[in-house]
Subunit: 335 residues, 2 copies
DNA sequence: TTGTAGGCGTTATCAG
DNA sequence: CTGATAACGCCTACAA
């Protein structure tokens, strides 16, 4: 049982035991119909007896197909990302691919390093969160000659494929939504992530263009949490002099914090302060008051991204390079 | 730019351009000190010029080390698991390993299939959630001769390493906690996962042993959600005739739902119904009333698991086979 | 239906 | 310090 030195069983070993050559074992595994029923049985017995597990590394090297897809997300503990990763990997698994996953922590340099590291595994395809990548990364990705999906954002010029929605578009629609409700002023609570920043900007721009009233902002460092949302509302009130009106938050987490802080300050929601989140997470509908938010179909995003990749991989008709999944404003009691 | 047919740059290409052999390129990458400064420079230039990305697959096959660690969790969208995966993978990445992650969906058969699939990638180590694995899986794992950490549970007889806590122990402590507070009766709300079931059982056993009063249960099918928690409290009240007392929930999600349903029924918390969750998630302290729950240090779990694996891998002093991280009951206003 | 030969791109081992 | 040469375990021809 000397673990480290343990000789792994190979196809050659299995073949020897079954009285056939290594290639026949390979065939029995990849396409049983090409092997006679009798030898197939013997091979299966030998596999069973030896506990043979095929070596995918050797297979990948020889065939130039790794059956591996890699993905990069900002954070795996954030349900927004983990949910589309789940539907993405599920569909890929059904097609025989496995998922190598890493976290960039929203850091562009880290992303670049990880892209190189992932590419060294010779994946058959790759998923990236977002559309901004370093020039070197783009070059490497293009050079790899594999399908690449950029998700959770929108662009006309993807590296290869793009599945997502427009953050600026969503934020503008939220601004219009707020304007239509007749509010003369509004504020934002925004996490320190580039896409959230773009939403904040698009929201403020539209709102200010229509009303001429500046939109105060509370930024959030670190992870978007309830505590951060509470602190943000405090900052808006105490530092920005924000008294009343709607607050567009960059995530439901932050919005939840804003709701809690508002309640603890005796503010009425939506009477004094109206709250809009982003993401439509599970809990949004169950908060009190229920949270108005922006919904993006993340399950679908993962599926569509996987389908696009698989279409590339299967060599069938080429998939749409760009898919805009859109978004939906879900109006609930908090607004 | 014919993607699929694109010839990837190899060490041989780089060597040719730098005027050295392929082996020298390999050395320049793995141990620069073994190469003269001058050729090192030339090699670096050639790498830069060609955009060479090493083929980790070939490297793994030749060296019999994949620098890959794989992990199996029940669900990646559940923060309970994703949080220790994050700290686990972070530490491993610092040590030069990458993480291949799959979801079992709490399904033992799926787990067995995935273990085989993962093993075929020849990982250098593997993380499993839980301590119950099929006989075949154990055999394969043992045969692989690699470090294996089982986490999020406790056993005296791990396959190799174990880092976690005792679910039965935690549930008993919760029962004692409830008994000490003098409650004559209690109920449970439990998701359909084996560990949650074990907690429910240990809790009920202890409580019934002390009081002689049976502990009514509401089970939950599907994912633990706020909606499921609400439905569970409804079931407890309407089907089990549960009127008042503490409710031990198998997750904070479910507890959150119970809190919301209790409020909507006009029940006072903790006056009529006291609520105890499990997990101490972010939002637990910010609910109203704040949630009493059981905390397990998941970040630490991932770190300790990674350290144990790395200790095995580095061939230094052998790590403790079993690490009990314990747990902590966090008393807040809901109890 | 089965087998032989060659090669995938590295690393390990020896020589020089 | 550098270079041959032989694996690593499998897959893709091609042949029998």
């Amino acid at each position: 049982m000397d673990g480290q030195t343990a000789k792994r069983v190979t196809m050659t070993d299995v073949g020897r035991m079954a009285g056939v050559s290594q290639v026949t074992v390979s065939r029995a595994l990849s396409d049983p119909s090409k092997v006679s029923p009798d030898t197939l049985r013997k091979i299966r017995e030998a596999i069973e007896a030896t506990g043979f597990v095929p070596n995918a590394i050797a297979g990948a090297l020889a065939s130039n197909r790794s059956r591996l897809v890699t993905a990069l997300v900002p954070s795996i503990t954030n349900i927004v990302y983990s949910s589309f990763i789940r539907s993405f990997s599920e569909r890929l698994r059904d097609a025989g691919y496995q998922l190598l996953l890493s976290e960039t922590g929203f850091d562009p340099e880290e992303e670049q390093a990880l892209i190189t590291a992932h590419l060294s595994r010779r994946p058959d395809a790759m998923l990236l969160t977002g559309i901004h990548h370093s020039a070197q990364s783009r070059r490497q990705l293009l050079g790899a000659g594999i399908p690449v999906v950029e998700v959770w954002d929108m662009t006309d010029t993807p590296i290869d494929l793009c599945v997502g929605f427009s953050h600026a578009g969503a934020a503008q629609r939220v601004a219009d939504f707020v304007l239509e409700a007749g509010y003369p002023q509004a504020a934002t609570v925004t996490a320190a992530d580039e896409r959230a920043g773009r939403r904040r900007q698009a929201f403020a721009k539209r709102f200010e263009a229509e009303t001429g009233v500046p939109v105060p902002e509370a930024g959030v460092d670190g992870a978007a949490s309830i505590a951060a949302g509470r602190a943000a509302l405090t900052a808006l009130i105490e530092r920005e002099g924000f008294a009343r009106g709607p607050i567009f938050c960059s995530s439901d987490q932050l919005a939840h914090g804003v709701l809690i802080e508002a309640r603890s300050r005796g503010l009425r929601v939506p009477g004094d302060v109206a709250v809009i989140g982003f993401g439509d997470q599970d809990f949004a509908r169950d908060l009190d008051p229920a949270l108005t938010t922006v919904r993006v179909d993340r399950d679908r995003l993962g599926q569509v991204a996987a389908d696009a990749v698989l279409a590339r991989l299967d060599g069938g008709p080429p998939p749409d390079p760009v898919t805009d999944l859109g978004f939906e404003i879900i109006r609930r009691a908090s607004f």
